[in-house]
Symmetry: C2
Amino acid sequence: MSNLHLGEHISRQFNEDLEEVRSKVLQMGGVVEEQLGRAISALINNDNRLAREVVKNDVRVNALEVEIDEECTRIVARRQPAASDLRLVMAVIKTITDLERIGDEVKRVAKMVHEELEGALDEEIRQELEHMGELVKGMLHSVLDAFARTDARSAVAVAKLDHKVDIKYQVITRQLMTHMAQDPTQIPTMMNVLWAARAMERMGDRCENIAEYVIYLVLGKDVRHVSLDDYERELEAS
Amino acid sequence: MSNLHLGEHISRQFNEDLEEVRSKVLQMGGVVEEQLGRAISALINNDNRLAREVVKNDVRVNALEVEIDEECTRIVARRQPAASDLRLVMAVIKTITDLERIGDEVKRVAKMVHEELEGALDEEIRQELEHMGELVKGMLHSVLDAFARTDARSAVAVAKLDHKVDIKYQVITRQLMTHMAQDPTQIPTMMNVLWAARAMERMGDRCENIAEYVIYLVLGKDVRHVSLDDYERELEAS
């Protein structure tokens, strides 16, 4: 067996390892997406039973994070990846941290439902929460898609969506404060709705983080703490 | 020059690289600690000017994160670390993410001061916030110390402190809700105080995360999502 063949063999095995990690990240993302969809549904329909299931299922997300983390450490130790392969591993390590934290926020929303809300939402707030939930679900789905296709343009588009989530959050905050002022006995309940909205707003931030890792993966540039517009222009020009 | 010498040379250079990264993490931690101390002081003393400085200085934290991240990627690519060295690099990558996010929460507290509060805190809440700030500052200082000395026992002790921060946060939340109920015109202001308290509560969570990375670094075990008591017993027995 020539060195060349050995090289090919190692490289093939390595590619399989990387593919395995990538597909596990998408699997983890899929679980988080499903959890998020169910948490929003539980919140909107005041479904305690569904909310409890979401809380219980968070262990699946955590287990996948630990599993992928170990796999990445193994790959770095055994395969000594360089350049773009190493970037992929680094992007994965960071992505799964944010996915796991999105899972935590989802659990937070679900806990609010089954412990606190007890059907206290009026129609207007319910609709706003539902819309905010759809925005965040859309961001999560698109950023996982951008990761799967290593598509920096889509990632930039996702990152820019976070602005919409932030505005929606401000609208809901104002509505809730008005409710509190009109009926102070409602303050504890409204606070809990606000925590749920806040949790969704954080999910948007974390989707934006993941989008930045995808851009890093494609361009090899760290775009955190810099204007996304600059990178968008760069991508347009390329 | 024999291979052995070459090996020693590479290894010495490698150790220097790792030391450099460790010391930069501590430098970054020092900046975040200083930022936190100043944000709390600005909050308690309603010092707008100090608060603005804190907001401005957050770029230092961000720059250090990007710098250390790049250094870690370089080390993995060039030195191909194994076992405990690789664990150190992985722990550093995760630690600086949490340090940077603590920096973001600090900035959030500072922004509340100079934009919103305008001297609206009564003495009781001021004292509670100050105490909560001291708890979080203590956690951050201790966990950086545990990182510097790679001391898993101290790290476990820090992680367990987060409970105190959570309790303090609940106390402050209740006080603020009482204020809101008594005087609904105060709701927007009290909400901002609550965001500041919430930001400090998140800092505690992130100190706990860092503590877990230190334990991972020392024991080679991922202690996220498992009971810290188990690891404490293991450490006591060792």
